[in-house]
Amino acid sequence: MAHKWGMVVDLDRCTGCEACVVACHAENNIPTAGEDQAARGRAKHWIRVERYWEGDFPNPRVRFQPVLCQQCDEAPCEPVCPTYASYHTPEGLNSQVYNRCIGTRFCANACPYNVRFFNFYNPEWDKPLQLQLNPDVSVRSVGVMEKCTFCVQRIKAAEIQAEAEKRELKDGEFTTACAQSCPSKALIFGDLNDSASEVARLASSNRGTKLLGELGTKPNVTYLERGTWEDANHG
């Protein structure tokens, strides 16, 4: 059975430490925009931790929510791309083919989650920062859209390795850069088609919800609602 990569984000475990954000930058050659470009709204974070305030002092509440590309099954960004740069792979990923993208930016407008980022300029790394660039990941140039790929380079490397050793991919054998670095194990990545995998088990939990699920995008990222103290122990 083909893989179907998915992720579970346990909002009860997420502390908002943003280790995932920096890990993603390190793994996927995401350039820093610098102050003036960030001020003009061009900072790129393939995964971001959204924060919503509720209520006022003295009892304000905060909700953290890591948001990344949901790799939707019915992705609104796929039909609108005129050159098939954004399309759905057989393994359930919403792939962004950088060399095929001509930069109409329609996909980013159609995406309800705002998780697609555009290279307005050619990215720049002050030497020798470019020595940190990961050779397994393409360095995108100007005029191309980019987004979270579920660390596709790690998926491919693991698949090639498993194929070389003539064996099936085991759950937890590899994971995405953000899930690997998340101290409180809030991000769990794996193959949704593998019923024994932890992500499949958690994805079917009754705490599971889908971000903007009502739009019918069928995201492959499931958010587990934050628990409350009362119901867990006394409910």
């Binding site: 929510q65 001509i102 705002n114 050619n122 191309v144 903007l212 995008t217």
Partner: protein
């Protein structure tokens, strides 16, 4: 004084041979605007789209607004001249060519704008479905691919629709010009001799084109509206967008036509041909479209407000009360509150009255497209990732240069093609006066036409 056929020909051919000082200045201004735009595009190509004000989440702003604006302007041309030809409205004769010229040039500009606003314009040829050895085709499900086919069809359609009625006029110019000009117009006239068979075939061709161009025009702007309606973005994803955009297109198109005719009348001294009756009728048409536009806008905003879904309401309040409120209410004033009284009261519906109304409508309709695109993109579903947008000088220059290009094309057109179709005026003259057709003098073009 009753104008004779010779008088018509003499008046309408004069602009082709003598250009006044004011003409040259207009050309200079238009060219410098266009070149400024070319320079701005050169700089954008060199540095990247970052020179614009776009950011995430507002990935479209001026670029798509200008695109929809210019495609909108183009619709009046075909729709008016096609419908007037089909209904055989007698007052159509001086109006049709001005309208068709507006159509062709604004579709041309509308087609160029997307090429300039995509991230890697040198790969735009991937939109063309050529059989490539990479076994990859354009994505036919994408509204942008539909745009590509729709606009290219519409461009060819409206160019033919413009070219057909000018063939007899090219022949007329051919006969009165000498040297190089004669050679050019001989080619353009496609060997037109004015034989009855040619007239009959021209008439049938124009009739077919008039019938065909109307659905193409309506389909083009519906497809342009589907660039927005096919997404899930709040205040974009609604079924009203198709008719809303077509109505808006005709509305802004007629306004542009009235403006163009008023300017031509003044500069090319065509007072006898572009008479107040034309402005009267077009003014009434503009009035109906203004009311229709108000109806569509009100319906769209009311349904959004009544439904009260949080994402839609965020965009709704943004344009009604918050950052975009000034632009929104200027739009309503420009599109409804100024034009309707001017056009409704007969005394005010003069040439200058309709020109003023249509000037405000053109501005209002540009704002309307801007207010559809930007507030919705700024306030999509997740409030954390909302954005704000400010245009930069590059975008302003490109927009100004699109107007410069339109003006330049129109000025050059009026230098090479009589703005008002000579043979149609003559046909109108004869049928109007009830006098049977006068056989042409030897070697002269037989200028009679069908009854």
């Amino acid at each position: 004084m009753q104008t004779t056929a010779e008088q018509i020909e003499q008046d309408l051919l004069r602009p082709l041979f003598h250009s006044s000082g004011k003409y040259w200045i207009a050309v200079a201004i238009a060219t410098s605007l266009l070149l400024a735009g070319v320079a701005a595009f050169g700089y954008q190509l060199y540095a990247g789209i970052g020179v614009w004000g776009l950011n995430s989440p507002v990935f479209w702003a001026f670029d798509i607004t200008n695109f929809v604006f210019w495609i909108g302007i183009s619709h009046a041309g075909t729709l008016i001249s096609a419908i007037l030809r089909l209904t055989n409205a007698t007052w159509r004769r001086p109006v049709t060519r001005c309208a068709e010229a507006i159509t062709v040039f604004s579709v041309l500009i509308g087609a160029i704008i997307p090429l300039c606003h995509i991230g890697r314009p040198w790969l735009a040829y991937w939109m063309i479905p050529y059989p490539s050895e990479r076994h990859i085709w354009p994505n036919f499900r994408s509204p942008l691919a539909w745009d590509f086919f729709a606009i290219s069809t519409y461009l060819t359609g409206s160019t033919t629709f413009l070219y057909l009625p000018t063939i007899p006029d090219f022949a007329a110019v051919r006969d009165v010009s000498t040297g190089l000009r004669k050679k050019i117009y001989r080619v353009l006239a496609l060997g037109w001799q004015g034989t009855p068979r040619q007239w009959q075939r021209l008439e049938v061709a124009m009739h077919i084109m008039a019938v065909v161009i109307v659905p193409v025009a309506v389909s083009v702007h519906t497809i342009v509206s589907w660039d927005f309606a096919m997404t899930l973005v709040p205040m974009w994803h609604s079924s009203i967008f198709g008719p809303y955009f077509v109505a808006g297109a005709i509305f802004s198109g007629i306004a542009a036509l009235i403006l163009a005719m008023a300017l031509l009348r003044k500069f090319l001294h065509l007072e006898q041909y572009l008479r107040p009756i034309h402005f009267e009728n077009l003014g009434k048409l503009l009035l109906t479209m203004s009311l229709l536009w108000f109806y569509f806008t009100f319906a769209e905003r009311l349904t959004a407000w009544y439904g009260n879904s949080p994402p839609e309401m965020a965009v709704f309040w943004e344009s009604i009360r918050k950052n975009f409120a000034p632009l929104f209410w200027t739009m309503v004033v420009c599109n409804f509150i100024i034009p309707v009284p001017i056009l409704a009261i007969k005394r005010l519906r003069t040439i200058t009255g309709t020109a003023i109304a249509s000037a405000t409508v053109v501005v209002g309709m540009w704002l309307e497209r801007f207010l559809i695109v930007v507030p919705a993109l700024e306030h999509k579903f997740l409030p954390y990732s909302w954005g704000t947008y400010r245009p930069t000088w590059v975008e302003d220059t490109l927009m100004a240069s699109s107007f410069g290009m339109m003006a330049l094309l129109y000025l050059l057109f009026s230098k090479f093609v009589p703005m008002i179709s000579i043979w149609e005026m003559k046909v109108g003259l004869q049928s109007h006066a009830g006098v049977p057709m006068v056989a042409p003098a030897e070697g002269q073009v037989a200028l009679e036409g069908p009854q």
